[in-house]
């Protein structure tokens, strides 16, 4: 069953947090199910989960009813996905604001792969632009590289100013 991750799960770190939340929910669900079978006492309160985790569980619930087995399957699917999912790393010159992150993530999932993971980093020495790393391939579209590549032009431009 294919996973449909929300755009809030952008990076591997987000995916690990999501897996932790789902695992917490699965543990709570298992304990709550046993307790409901044995006693009439009130169930323990639902643990605090992220909106992404809640959304994923609800989506999963629409595909197959929630049970311990289905939650285990979801966890297995997530672990498998975390191990094999395509991921690229985008390094920007400054910490990426949410809008930029969402814009780049949306583009990657729309054009490269639906559930691709995008790790964002920042390096101020880039000055601008970005460096995209996918596997062993590195695409350097930073301003630094372009400026250094054209540094010989600067004296000429300075003379013409």
């Amino acid at each position: 069953m294919a996973l449909n991750l929300q755009n809030s799960i952008a990076s591997r770190q987000d995916l690990k947090a999501l897996i932790l939340d789902v695992r917490t929910y699965a543990t709570w669900y298992g304990q709550a199910a046993v307790k409901a079978r044995l006693t009439n006492d009130n169930l323990a309160p639902l643990p605090n989960l992220s909106e992404a985790a809640i959304g994923l569980i609800n989506t999963w619930n629409q595909q197959q009813p929630i049970s311990q087995a289905s939650l285990d399957a979801l966890l297995a699917e997530l672990e498998k996905y975390a191990a094999t999912a395509a991921a690229i790393t985008i390094t920007l010159a400054a910490p990426a604001p949410g809008s930029v992150k969402q814009s780049l993530l949306a583009w990657c999932r729309a054009n490269i792969a639906p559930n691709i993971l995008v790790d964002f980093r920042f390096n101020s020495t880039l000055l601008g632009g970005m460096v995209v790393q996918y596997g062993s391939h590195v695409y350097d579209w930073s301003f630094r590289r372009q400026i250094l590549a054209n540094r010989d032009k600067f004296p000429e431009i300075l003379r013409h100013v």
Binding site: I112, Y134, G135, W141, F143, I147, V161
Partner: protein, 210 residues
């Protein structure tokens, strides 16, 4: 007392002395001529008819009178010469004293004038020095002000030129209509430009597992 005044006094003295000498000369001349003419005048008291003087006596008396007159003239001339010598010496001494006084006074006055002029020159030089120092300070202040203004102008010019140069360089170097503030469009455009490469690599599964 100026030199002209002293000269006038000296001339007056000369005229006075000449007057005195002339008077004396006239006096003695008159006495001489009187003594010479007196025997020729007829004696009002005794007439030749009363007293007959022998010719020898008359000649003797005439010789004695002439000798006496000559002696008197000689004495008067010697006395006059002595008086003249004495007067000359006195005048010389007086002239020397006057000249010394005049020269001394002139020197004193000259020295006083020199001192006055020196003081005046010092005063004027002090004023000139103050004016020069004031002008120098003013020039220095103005120069410093102009230098600072020129420095600021050059700095501003350099800033402007550098900003233009950097802007032109970035525009020419980046070759994209990059908004240096919001780069979302630029980043997406770059991804879009290499979209085929990404899709191919993902399809080939070249992504290493981490």
């Amino acid at each position: 007392m100026t030199g002209d005044t002293i000269l006038q006094i000296f001339l007056f003295l000369q005229v006075f002395i000449i007057g005195v000498l002339t008077t004396l000369a006239v006096h003695y001349a008159r006495a001489h001529f009187k003594a010479k003419q007196q025997p020729l005048e007829p004696a009002p008291v005794q007439s030749p008819t009363d007293v007959e003087i022998p010719a020898t006596l008359k000649a003797h008396l005439l010789q004695a009178s002439q000798a006496q007159f000559e002696e008197a003239v000689k004495n008067s001339a010697a006395q006059l010469q002595n008086n003249l010598a004495y007067t000359n010496e006195q005048i010389n001494n007086l002239v020397m004293k006057l000249a010394t006084d005049v020269v001394s006074n002139e020197l004193t006055r000259y020295k006083a004038d020199l001192d006055s002029l020196e003081k005046k020159a010092e005063t004027e030089m002090g004023g000139i020095r103050l004016a020069v120092e004031s002008h120098e300070a003013e020039l220095k202040a103005r120069l410093a002000q102009e230098m600072e203004a020129e420095k600021q102008r050059l700095l501003k010019l350099i800033d402007t030129k550098l900003a233009d140069a950097v802007g032109s360089f970035l525009t020419e170097t980046l070759q994209h209509h990059v908004d240096l503030g919001s780069q979302s469009a630029y980043l997406v455009a770059m991804l879009e430009e290499h979209k085929a490469d990404f899709v191919k690599e993902v399809a080939d599964g070249t992504q290493p597992t981490k």
